[in-house]
């Protein structure tokens, strides 16, 4: 009798032990699954971050190092702005306006990305993009002008779509300049971004404003032209003074 009780108790203990082991195994499997999902998510996050800042900067951030990865670089800056946005914004309903704007931003960003550019920021209806900021790129000038030509073509196609919906056409003005500046993480403690700062960006933005004066859509500076493939067809524009620059700025319109 005692022996039978002992066997039953032993079997019960064994069953309880097996049950506990089974539950533990299930818990481990669940944790493993969560860990794999988290690791895959982390990998995606790292890849997404690598599109916003050079991979070295991303690694330093992951390693919790405080340095900004700042370095001097020669970069090509492209600044584009939507012509006639104010008039259009008064005419369209907010929902339609947002849809048109998003379509515009998407197409412009694709054209820039397809030519190895990096959209740094959207400034209102404008776009600031860099070529050669994330990775060394000795072909950055040609890439930037090809991106601008792709943006011109994309706007043309987009306007055909908008016309079918009875919406007004869009037009862009694009200024491109090449020069040195400081690339790195800049911003406040709460909000940081990988940016390229310096007079190169300011001049690209100023050159963009000249597109309205010269009534063209793509303008480049002399500094950029010097490094550009001579097969691009350019037209010299009269030198103009711009805010913040002492000397008149010589620009060239890009035909094709």
């Amino acid at each position: 009798m005692t022996r039978a009780l002992l066997v039953v108790a032993g079997l019960g203990l064994l069953a309880a032990l097996l049950g506990a082991l089974y539950r533990q195994r299930r818990r481990t499997q669940a944790l493993q699954t969560q860990l794999e999902a988290a690791a895959a998510e982390l990998q995606r996050l790292q890849e997404a971050c690598a599109r916003l800042a050079p991979a070295g900067v991303v690694q330093r951030l992951i390693a919790d190092r405080a340095d900004t990865g700042a370095e001097r670089k020669v970069v090509t800056a492209l600044f584009s702005d939507l012509v006639g946005y104010t008039a259009m914004s008064e005419r369209l309903e907010p929902a339609a306006l947002a849809r048109v704007l998003n379509g515009y931003f998407q197409r412009m960003s694709d054209a820039i990305h397809d030519h190895r550019g990096h959209v740094s920021t959207f400034v209102g209806d404008g776009i600031l993009a860099f070529f050669g900021a994330l990775q060394p790129n000795p072909w950055q000038c040609d890439d930037a002008v090809r991106a601008a030509l792709a943006m011109r073509a994309a706007i043309r196609d987009y306007n055909e779509e908008l016309a079918k919906e009875g919406l007004p056409p869009l037009a862009v003005g694009i200024g491109i300049h090449r020069g040195p500046g400081l690339a790195g993480l800049v911003g406040s403690r709460e909000r940081m971004e990988y940016a390229f700062v310096g007079p190169t960006v300011n001049l690209a933005a100023r050159v963009q404003t000249l597109t309205r004066i010269h009534k063209v859509d793509i303008l480049i500076t002399e500094a950029l032209r010097e490094h550009l493939d001579p097969r691009f067809v350019l037209a010299p524009m009269p030198a103009e003074t711009v805010k913040g620059i002492a000397e008149p700025v010589v620009t060239y319109a890009v035909r094709e």
Binding site: E36, Q43, G56, Q59, N137, P138, W139
Partner: protein
């Protein structure tokens, strides 16, 4: 649920057709101890098929570097290059050889927190820098490595492991070699049951290298890289790969040199760029034409194949796999099968070796 962190990366259907070649398969089995899983894709260009076997560092090429550290470098560089195929293959090999999933993840995710010695962490950081950003970034990381007490010959071997991984990554990514078998392998019941035997077979083929004299100094372009490894078993293997690559008739020597020149220029490797320039001059290319190729990726006088492959070469320096593979498909459709595969081999080799060039040739 993804078994590894690159499984979500878009990957195009394979651009090549597999074909049996008993001689090449037996060559690979003899060298590696196990069958080479993808050699059938490369049989049309034998030098490339052989290089994919010969340049595996863990099979008799490393004299100073720990083989396990070599494995970790291959894993991290493959992750850096987003090569789903190589990453899955190295990962499967590490799992089968007994490395835990947690340790693999810690190495992939954050070197600072992984269970690594400072020397190991510095070695992996250097390999990552060489692969990612080329010579400019590798110079700083090399100093960290030397400060951590790593000897100069060991640095060269680390650089070689990263370069050979860069080569293999591109040779797999450009033609979109399917990664699925390796991605599923570690969790397959059969593999788990047979793990000890598979691990033993894998380990049996692996061996440490022995000092090997370089019998003759070659004279073809990039022989300087071979000389930089004189005394190491890496030198004769590199020499053989170069010799066969330059002699292979799929593409002209000038076309191959132009691809090397573009990649060296894109990476900012001065040593490799001037080597390519000298060799192209000997091929009769004018300085004006070379300048035009390097600055604008085209020049009057290039033939149609060169005009196609020169701009494609720059696409292979930094890339996302799927867009590069789509672009490669467009290139393949304009070339013969052998020309395309030879271009894959040359571009892959140039990417690995131009990253290696500045490290070993600048610091003999």
């Amino acid at each position: 649920m993804p078994a590894n962190a690159l499984q979500h990366v878009a990957w195009e259907p394979c651009l090549l057709e597999a074909r049996r070649d008993d001689a090449l398969e037996s060559y690979a089995r003899k060298k590696l101890g196990v069958p080479h899983p993808t050699i059938r894709y490369y049989v049309d260009v034998p030098w490339l098929a052989r290089a994919l076997v010969d340049l595996h560092p863990e099979f008799g090429l490393l004299v100073h570097l720990d083989l396990g550290l070599g494995d970790l470098i291959q894993l991290v560089v493959s992750q850096e290059n987003t090569c789903r195929y190589c990453y899955a293959a190295v990962r499967a090999s590490l799992r089968i050889q007994g490395m835990s999933e947690a340790r693999i993840r810690s190495v992939e995710g954050n070197l600072a927190r992984a269970d690594l010695t400072p020397r190991e962490a510095a070695a992996i950081a250097f390999a990552r820098a060489q692969s990612r950003a080329g010579p400019p970034a590798a110079a700083g990381a090399r100093q960290v490595l030397l400060d951590a007490g790593v000897s100069a010959p060991e640095v060269k071997e680390i650089a070689f492991v990263a370069a050979s991984t860069d080569f293999m990554n591109r040779a797999s990514t450009l033609p979109a070699i399917p990664p699925y078998v390796f991605e599923r392998a570690p969790d397959r019941l059969g593999v788990r049951l047979l793990r000890p035997w598979i691990a033993r077979a894998l380990r049996a083929g692996r061996s440490r290298g022995r000092a090997t004299p370089l019998e003759r100094v070659p004279s073809y372009p990039y022989a300087g890289l071979v000389e930089a490894f004189a005394g190491s078993p890496i030198a004769p293997v590199l020499a053989k790969t170069f010799e066969e690559m330059w002699a292979s008739p799929g593409l002209t020597r000038r076309c191959k040199l132009l691809m090397f020149a573009v990649i060296a220029h894109g990476l900012g490797c001065g040593v490799c760029a001037s080597e390519a320039a000298r060799a192209l001059q000997k091929e009769g290319l004018s300085q004006e034409a070379l300048t035009s190729v390097l600055t604008h990726l085209d020049a009057p006088g290039l033939d149609p194949v060169e005009r196609l492959l020169v701009p494609f070469a720059r696409e292979t320096i930094w890339y996302e796999p799927a867009p590069l593979q789509r672009r490669a498909r467009g290139v393949r459709d304009q070339l013969s099968g052998t020309q395309f595969l030879e271009a894959v081999g040359v571009l892959s080799l140039a990417n690995g070796l131009c990253r290696l060039g500045a490290t070993v040739a600048d610091h003999p």
